[in-house]
Amino acid sequence: MLIIKGLTKYFAKNSPHETLALDNFDLQIKKGDFVTIIGSNGAGKSTLLNLVAGTLQQDMGEISLLGKAITCQPEYQRARWIGRVFQNPLLGTAPYMTVEENLSLSLKREKRGLRLGINKNLRNFFREKLSELNLELEDNISKKVGLLSGGQRQAMTMLMATMFKPKVLLLDEHTAALDPESSKKILKLTQDLVMERQVDLITLMVTHNMKQALEVGNRTVMMDRGRNIFDIQGEERKKINVDDLVRQFSILGNRKDKYIEDRMVLI
């Protein structure tokens, strides 16, 4: 269970530009849940993921994972349990390092020592995992990652974020920067990789695509101005369509004037 309680985050606090990114945000997610998070720009979606991962420090509130408070742990300690994929495909991999070096870095997330980072067994394991991606990466295992395409790099990042069996998977608009074809592939891959470990994985996926938000996963959270304004799952979620969601957004977000605009942004 991932419990987020009263999470509050300001940017540029105590300055004229102070903005409230997360406003007393609450969310409880149980094991096996795949939550899609939607909301307009500046709603606090990415901030939420950055706070869960530990990239940012909250001003108030608590986060606990599997009964353990992780609020005060730095990012590198939380990484033992948390896999991440960023929107920018260049962020998730190290370009001047080889495919296998990247995979090796991601597989072992604590107690690294003076053993070789890559050995024969690991290499075979990586080949096997890469062949499941169907991108012919298994034959280019010692190629520099910088020479791969954005789609290939994002697929690698997906693999790196799930291969070490995390407890939490954070996906921040991870298909948004790709061409439609790669985007489809990565989404399919996401569903496959999450399905493999459906029982005990908690997945949070930020998306701008409302259709995607309802099709993927089993729960949808809508955010606006740093608050959780709409949370839907189960049978109720199956009945709802994109139009309902957009209507909900304009009503709950108190933004009648923005109805048309958001409709265009979000669909």
């Binding site: 990239t55 990484a79 190290a94 001047y96 997330r109 070789l116």
Partner: protein
Amino acid sequence: MPISLFLHALEQGLVFGIMVLGVFITYKILDFPDLTVEGSFPLGAAVAAKVIFSGGDPLWGTFLAMIAGSLAGLITGLLHTKLKLTNLLSGILTMTLLYSVNLRIMGRPNIPLLGKVTLLGEIENYFPNLSMDYLIPFFFLFLVVILKFIIDYFLSTEIGLTIIATGDNEQMIKSLGVNTDLTKLMGLCISNALVALSGALFAQYSGFADVNMGLGTIVAGLACVIIGISIIKIPTIFWRTIAVLVGSLVYRLIMIIALRYGYSFGFKPGDLKMISVLLVIIALSVPFIKGKLNFADRFNLGRKDLQNNNGKEV
């Protein structure tokens, strides 16, 4: 050109090559232009010279020099990671600090080692039948090759890979569970230990330690790294460490030729630093100039966007 010039270039290229390996680790691996080396090179020389001058064991003195060097790297690293100073400023502060420290250690600006028992002297005693002319370069070569393989191995271990990744994509490696403060500190300590070792050996090789002998170390180190990497372009760690050592040899050869024959072109010894800076500029601008020169193709073929040569090295 007399053979002795080549031998000198070889010896110096190898002794300074250890320093170049250190600069390579910070500048190329960690992406951290570390000016500490201007202070840690003479620091190594000062510590070793002090121990040897007081009649101590030269091996012990050389070892202490490495410890002192790694402490210098630690200071720069702490300034950068804990106090959040920029990498350049951290290096400048430590380098300036070390100038006073080095004077304190030596107690005076210059320590001569003539007639003292140095590491090289001890080795000579082990092999009394061999000529010093060939023994010294051979010893340095042996040492440099061993260090090269240790560095290669270390950089391919789990920890080593995290250090490389820190210089390559810091945000990513943090999200993979690495404390990048720690990897930077490790890289800086190792690098400056190597630079101090180089200083300690150079003091014993040249027979003195001087508080000003670090001047220009960083430019020389960068020149060697850049020259080496533009000669050998294979981007694996194994070949890159070879490349920077080759760069070191080429650089010293150029310097020695400039020193020996420069007079005929009106050069003075003081111009050496200018020559090394020119070397750095030339080596760094070659890919850019190559890209510019492609305009010849455009004229010939009448196509403007035929080639876009960014000269990016991977």
